[in-house]
Amino acid sequence: MSFSLHFSDLLPYWPVFLEGAWLTLKMTGVAVVVGVSVGTLVAFAKRGRRKWLSKACSVYIDAVRNTPFLVQLFLLYFGLASLGIHMPTFAAAVLAMIINIAAYAAEIIRAGLEAVPRGQIEAAECLGLSRWRIGWHVMLQPSIEKVYPALTSQFLLMMQASAMASQISAEELTAIANTVQSDTFRSLETYIVVACLYLALSLLVKLLAWGLGEYFFRRRRAIRRAAAQAGRKQPGPAAADATVIGAGKRRTT
């Protein structure tokens, strides 16, 4: 039994791999954008005054967070098909991802909203800002700024969860790996290549999230620079908080 890896057999397949990676990225992108928007609404609704709505939101969040993504996917794709609602595999996969990430994002964003000091909202009310502007400027923006590291790690986990879409045969990266390995009989090599591609994708997502964070939350940069100029190091307690929040959020997936 020889234990040697042959990656050369996989060389002709690189466009297929790249296409799969691109599809994975696209699915994740759509799911993240729509999911966070829905999640924001859910977060506000859960905090809102309407009892039944906030109850419904917590039921939704708990149901999604305590069942596996794979089962949700099966329920959405096979289950709805048996009830007469047929969906293309991709639509089903993306919809499942949206439903999933919206629940997690809602919980993360809600944590951010809870952290907005009551006094700031009262101050904004005193200034006569409308409810929408309070929601957007005073509550949502600072809380997203605070929780976006946690959101980012959630997006990464979502990107990885998209691998499960191969189980309903949506042709993303993992599904492509399955076909390639049955073509070439080089399963170990194929999966190592795909693992590296996922690694590269997650680095890309991280980089993207970091870049967007730097761009959108310029205030962070200003605060950091001011702190550096004042001769202190990075704001200590805030950094410690961030690690704890990060650890805490990671577990909620």
């Binding site: 305590n66 069942t67 993992t174 693992a195 690690t243 704890v244």
Partner: protein, 217 residues
């Protein structure tokens, strides 16, 4: 309809819960041993230990568990290591769990105030004594809620073992569905079983977190 959902099916589903629980337990126990080692390496003063641990955590966290499972199960079988599904799933999940637990625990240990280390040093405790007697007992309190929360994740992740043919809850659902084809009912039931397993743990973790925060304030 080919057949109807009967008590036999329900009992079959309920029995497969044990396999889900067993796999979760194996993954969690092995993973926490591995994770402890990773955490130690990650906070070690030696650079050659810290860097590989960081690399390990970052790379495992960047790879989906599904791919790890495939590598262990299909990948190794090509070279003659035909692993039983339980061993393969346990191995892959151990790798995955250890990376996450290592990172969670590192965060908790690093959240301990620096003076605790310095005070232990003043008492001339060795590094291991400092960890064992001063840091870890305190970090344990902090790490309990996220660890229990992660346990929920481990239980949910075992559903992936269905892909390599390990008959746990999800796989049992698929098998029943193949015979009577009522996916909506069956997968709702499977989801409900997972919910029944995970929800108490989630609530417990949340409750502990609240209690801890009150203590810290």
């Amino acid at each position: 309809m080919i057949g109807n959902f009967s008590w036999t099916h329900l009992i079959y589903l309920a029995q497969s819960i044990w396999w889900t629980l067993l796999l979760s337990l194996i993954a969690f126990l092995l993973g926490s041993i591995g994770g402890f080692g990773i955490m130690l390496a990650r906070i070690s003063p030696r650079r050659w230990l810290r860097l590989p641990a960081l690399l390990y955590i970052e790379s495992i966290q960047g790879i989906p568990l599904l791919i790890l499972l495939f590598i262990v199960y299909y990948g190794l079988s090509v070279y003659g290591f035909a692993l039983p599904a339980l061993v393969a799933a346990g191995l892959a999940m151990m790798v995955y769990t250890s990376a996450y637990l290592g990172d969670i625990w590192r965060g908790c240990v690093e959240a301990m105030p620096k003076p605790q280390w310095e005070a232990a040093e003043c008492l001339s405790l060795t590094r291991w004594q400092t960890l064992r007697l001063v840091i870890i007992p305190q970090a344990l309190r902090l790490s309990l809620p996220p660890t229990v929360g992660f346990l929920v994740q481990v239980i949910k992740m075992t559903s992936l073992a269905s892909v390599i043919g390990f008959v746990e809850l999800t796989r049992a659902g698929q098998i029943i569905n193949n015979s009577i084809f009522q996916p909506f009912l069956i997968f709702s039931l499977v989801g409900a079983f997972y919910f029944a397993l995970c929800y108490p743990l989630s609530r417990w973790s949340e409750a502990m977190e609240n209690k801890l925060n009150v203590g810290n304030r």
